[in-house]
């Protein structure tokens, strides 16, 4: 691809899935027409998503020598006018579609009336490191990627002994982002220590929890970073073959990863003797069917082997006995992107920083939904009310579902809990995938628990009895409560049932499956009590006399 000179002005159109859903393609076409008629050389670029799902479609404009200006809620009809003004002497308008300007220097603002994004509430609390390229670079472009420091980490790694690479990751303290929180360095060391030298690495980009989309943001916005992380994992553990696993529904992500891999192959970054070393590595993309359970690592491996998505009991861990019975490292996409930052720097402090940020997916009844990145330790309150702008509309906050249904609901008084694996698991929740679904006070927690319990029942692979049958029994019992047919004693059976499913199930899905119910019972007992008395506290459920 011929790269236009750097002194061209550029227009970036965010074409992540969220943008596309909001009409970014039409905006891109309209922008193209504008460029053609503009009478000057302007470079038009598709990027991933910068996380502002609430303002899509997002367009950014860069005039060389000046900061990039971010526009939100752009329409195909309005984009020409907006661009015309930007390139005219009048310059970008201060309000309306304008979100902010990207500048490091908040003092002397090149566009005096436009908010620097550092002061924008959505960005203020964030520390974008893993997300830094998303929405900023052309995801297909190797040049962009390398220009922003890409593929320097794998080059560095290839110059080190694999053990050193593992030691480096260990020292950073990086814990897996896929929900389990296992220390990545430990996992790699375990695989590398196996006698069996036929080893595999897998990037887990299945992302099946409802409300999670930050992995997609990474794969769409910065696919090379995922690939680079997987390269490093492979080199460190002595694997020569790796897979990137994503659900078929993530079509944009799949396409971008495929293009990125093709560029790498062409460039000699993948294949035999990568980067001119003697080390061979091939990466392949595999599409999942989209069942939530496919993201569980042993189920994922089963599907790669051509079996149905059923988890296997652990141990043995995949790092000991995984794909085709060989040691296999499965890492989450976000983990791998963190790896590329950790190994890419010599600075231990910077590495530790990369190991201590977390991507979160904000959705539900929140004012500013989107994919965000915060330092671990930020409180949930800051995330929801600061970055996320609190509850949408004029409703009040009722609960937040953390880490998908598996994490359960947290009430307002626990919002000071920091974003951290340890702190959340201490209060019986989990950071999981980092999805935060905000629930407002119009929602009945019994009904919502039932909704998510149904999700669990549908997601169950059915292999083990407690999860296969137990989740269905939970839904049935919640239905009785919602209908107002249940007695107080049935709440005890409900709790027993939760215990059997949690303690007896084979994999993480079943073990966490009762969490929507247990957390709702614990924190929103009043909603249950009301139903036992024959009414729904929010009026949302058909209860008592009206019940069918």
């Amino acid at each position: 691809m011929q790269r236009p000179p750097d002194n061209y002005p550029r227009i970036f159109v965010g074409t992540g899935s969220c943008g596309l859903a909001a009409g970014a393609d039409a905006v891109f076409e309209a922008a193209k027409r504008f460029v053609r008629g503009a009478g000057q050389d302007i470079h038009l670029i598709r990027t991933g998503c910068l996380g502002m799902c609430h303002r899509e479609p997002v367009v950014e404009v860069l005039i060389p020598g000046r900061p990039r200006v971010i526009y939100g809620d752009v329409t195909a009809d309005g984009v020409a006018e907006l661009l015309g003004r930007h390139f005219s002497p009048v310059g970008p308008e201060a309000a309306g579609h304008t979100v902010g300007q990207r500048t490091a220097d908040a003092e002397s603002l090149p566009y005096p009336d436009i908010l620097p994004i550092a002061l924008h509430p959505f960005f203020a609390g964030q520390a974008p490191l893993l997300l830094a390229r998303c929405g900023v670079v052309d995801p297909h472009s190797l040049v962009d990627y390398e220009a922003s420091g890409g593929y320097s980490a794998i080059r560095r790694a290839l110059g080190m002994h694999p053990k050193e690479v593992i030691a480096r990751v260990r020292r950073s303290g990086l814990a897996g982002r896929g929900g389990g929180g296992m220390l990545t360095g430990d996992k790699w060391a375990l695989a590398a220590a196996q006698r069996d030298t036929e080893r595999y690495v897998i990037a887990n980009g299945d992302e099946g929890d409802p409300g999670a989309f930050s992995d997609r943001t990474l794969m769409e916005g910065d696919p090379h970073a995922v690939i680079e992380g997987l390269m490093i994992a492979a080199y460190a553990t002595g694997a020569h073959r790796g897979y990137i696993y994503t659900r078929a529904a993530y079509a944009t992500a799949l396409h971008r990863l495929e293009v990125a891999i093709a560029f790498c192959r062409k460039r000699g970054y993948l294949g035999e003797g990568i980067f001119g070393t003697g080390y061979d590595l091939n990466l392949h993309i595999r599409k999942g069917s989209g069942a939530y359970i496919c993201g569980e690592e042993t189920a994922l491996i089963a599907t790669l082997e051509g079996r149905g998505p059923m988890p296997e009991e652990k141990p043995p861990l995949p790092a000991v006995k995984g794909y085709l019975g060989h040691p296999t490292v499965v890492n989450n996409v976000e983990t791998l992107v963190a790896v590329s930052h950790i190994v890419g720097t010599e600075d231990d402090a910077l590495a530790a920083l990369a190991a201590k940020t977390k991507l979160l997916s904000l959705s539900g009844a929140i004012a500013r939904p989107g994919a965000v990145e915060v330092p671990m330790g930020t409180s949930l309150r800051e995330v929801i009310f600061g970055i996320g702008g609190g509850v949408a509309g004029d409703r009040r906050f009722k609960a937040v579902l953390v880490g998908g249904p598996d994490g359960g609901f947290l009430p307002e008084h626990l919002l000071d809990t920091p974003v951290s694996f340890a702190a959340l698991s201490r209060i019986g929740s989990t950071l999981g995938s980092g999805a935060l679904v905000v629930v407002d006070d119009s929602t009945c927690m019994v009904a919502l628990a039932r909704y998510f319990e149904q999700f669990e029942a549908d997601a169950s692979c059915g292999k083990c009895t407690p999860c296969r049958v137990g989740t269905v029994r939970l839904v049935e019992r919640l239905d009785r409560i919602i209908a107002g047919h249940a007695t107080a004693a049935e709440l005890d059976t409900l709790r027993d049932l939760c215990g059997v499913v949690r303690e007896g199930s084979l994999c993480g899905l079943g073990r966490a499956a009762p969490n929507p119910v247990t957390s709702a019972l614990r924190h929103f007992g009043d909603d249950f009590k009301a139903h036992l008395e024959g009414y729904c506290p929010t009026g949302a459920c058909t209860t008592g006399e009206d019940a069918p």
């Binding site: 059915g462 296969r468 049958v469 059976t493 303690e503």
Partner: protein, 907 residues
Amino acid sequence: MTVTLSIDGVSVRVPAGSTLLAAARAAGRHVPTLCHDPKTKPFGGCRACLVRVEGEARPVAACTRPVAGGMVVRTDDAAVRALVTGIVQLQLSDHPEHCTACAASGHTELHDLAAALGIGADNPFAGRRREQPTEDTNPFIIRDFSACIACGKCIRICDEVRGVMAINWQGRGFGLKVAAPFDDVLDCEFCGHCVDICPTGALREKLAEGLPAPDRAVKTICGYCGVGCGMLVQVAGNRVVRVTAEHGNPSNDGALCVKGKFGYDFGDHPDRLGGTGLKLGATTGERVAAPLVRDGDGFRPVSWDEALDRVAQGLLGIKRAHGPRALAGFPSAKCTNEENYLFQKLLRAGLETNHIDHCTRLCHAASTKGLQMAFGTGAMTNATDDFALADVVFAVGTNTIENHPVSALKLKEAIRKGTRLIVADPRRIEMVEWADIWLDLQPGTNAALLLGMLHVILAEGLADQAFIAARTEGFDDAARAAARYTPEFAARITGVDPQKIIDAARLYGRAGNAAIYNGMGITQHTSGTDNMLCLTNLALATGNVGRPGTGVNPLRGQNNVQGSCDMAGVPAELPGYQPILDPAVRAKFTGVWHAGIPDWIGKTLTEITDAALAGEIKGLYVLGENPVLSDPDVTKTTAALGNLDFLVVQDIFLTETAKLAHVVLPGTTFLEKDGTFTNTDRRVQRVRAALAPPEGALRDLDIIQAVARRVGLPMDYDGPEAVWNEIRQVWPDVAGIGYRRLEEGGIQWPCPAEDHPGTPFLYADTFPIGRGRFHPVEFIPPRELPDTDYPYMLTTGRWLLHYHTGSMTRRSRGIGEALPEGFVEIHPDDAAALGLAPDQPVTVRSRRGTITVRALISPRSRPGVVFIPFHFAEAAANALTNTALDEKCKIPELKVCAVHIAPAPEP
């Protein structure tokens, strides 16, 4: 490496890599399981086996967790027990409340566990159940998924043990179910293994529906083929309810095939001789439970006394008038060792004739002959267990997967673990799918192929010179004979790509342990013995004899064909392969029998037929054989038997042969008798009567003795054990095998003493003939090849569902229903050339006869070659086959003849 851990306070040492379940069992602790099967990979789904491991937050499934040193495990933790109780309650909440299916199927593992946990009728977790329709479209297996607990054992057995993969999971969560592809009805090999291991009534035997619960289970050996599977026959009153596989029997360890599992009820068929259902003549409707004697064109029932008197008079009359050489007998590869022993004793010592032969001549005479010539004994050198020990298995003319389906499981398992397979077979049989190399030769060209392989082995220095020097003789002649069979030359004869011949030779020649297994694809030729000698040459040249996982191993067809040969159902030997011409041998037997033994060599099966046709042999006693269908050229056999002055047939059905008899003696099935069978691995196993014979039948051993007494040979054995003890006396190789020892399981002969363990493989140090002998061999084409009048080559064989001439399988309700009719398998190209549609009736004509069968158009056959199974009387393959004989062993060329094919005229 071992690991020590503590289970319920008991310290146990187990091999590293064991599961907690295995360790618990080693410690004598009971851990319940529902989804565990020792033959398949651990699953971990039912969660019945949860135990507490100290230091771990949650309970652990014992069946999947590998042991670790120093683990402290409790199987009796109260909280875990409560948890398992809850799990089983969940399981029961999705299971019919008063599950009659489980009770009827005899599979009540779920209910037994519930009872053990003290679970009552009151289920706190009750809820909606899956409603799934019951499927009973096939004749064997009812699939009632409302009772299924999704343990997945059936799926794993079908895949990991049977290698069939007929079923798999479908759907997920609560809707998860076991399904055939596309959720279609089950259509598989119907081995019934899944039925045996299902822990609930979800999978049941259709044949058992509506029968009372069994009141006993009898351990015996399957009567269908040479594998010799151990089975448990569950009986209610005098009726089989179901058959299940015996576990731990080395022949089958928990597996059966469709015939053993479902083919047991032929004994109840209305056609059964001596049974109350038999009607003589469709019109009279008279029911006869008695022996029959000829009456004009038909039969009339007579008392046993009269029938036996007639037999004695008939046989003695001929002996008196024409001498003993006018008498002959066919013993039976289906009958027990004891019956065969007494039968040949009756003929030799009582009737003074050595004209004794049986269908082994048709199957493996060439194997026995070849092995005797090369090694000294006519039996498999190793055993079917050796599949696992071989690095390379060379399967020549054996469709093991269909004909020895249970032995094939060992082969499949070996292949999964890395054994390489070479298959030589003209048809694309299922074996080919498991093979590394398929040598797709033109029928009847085996010797050229094998000579080509020997050529490559010698040319490339793959021969084991040390072995050749130390243990063999005759190498140079054999090598010289092979010299001109370059791969290219062999390829021209066989039609096999020369590179494949080279590859196969290298694979076999370089293997650490290479084993040859052969079937009738190589023996039923005029060159049968030569073909066998090619195999023994290969084994001797590469030193692949006398070790585990090597040898030359004919897979014997019938259940006791090894035993009927051991018991000298052949013309030239006395029991134990002792030459009849040897005076010392005869003297030994005379000493035990107190009777003279004729000192001449009798005629073989085909020679007896010829002699009958010529009028030299006038009286014949047939024990449980059906030569009309099993021997080549039906027309000729029928004429020969029709020419006899006196024919006695002792059988369980009025077979095509029995219909020609003067006296028909109703005998017993393998389910009705005691004794021993010897399987293809030389393993002597105990057969036990599960049923009483029908009222008009007698046990074969008693019939033979009664005839013997009437012809003047005193015989009064106190049951089969007494007979066997006499066999031990005359044949040292089984001297150590007593009935008492057989209670513990089968023993492989040679076993000369009570404290001898038996012999899994032969010739470790030496051959009975001293050195192993090479034999020079030349390729000779089949006697009859296609020409313009008969343009197609016909080859014959068997089909998984049926056995031999079909007299048993075709009278079993399930099997008869599943495959009621014969067929001719024809390649699509040929079918197109002939303008045939699938299932269209065609006439197949040879120089000897014509039959009409339906066309089965299939790429399994090769162009120009058609295949017909020989199980079906109305479409008898052997109406067509050639009687041309192998000069060395007198086996007829059943595998190749020329036929003409045309669409059948409209009826």
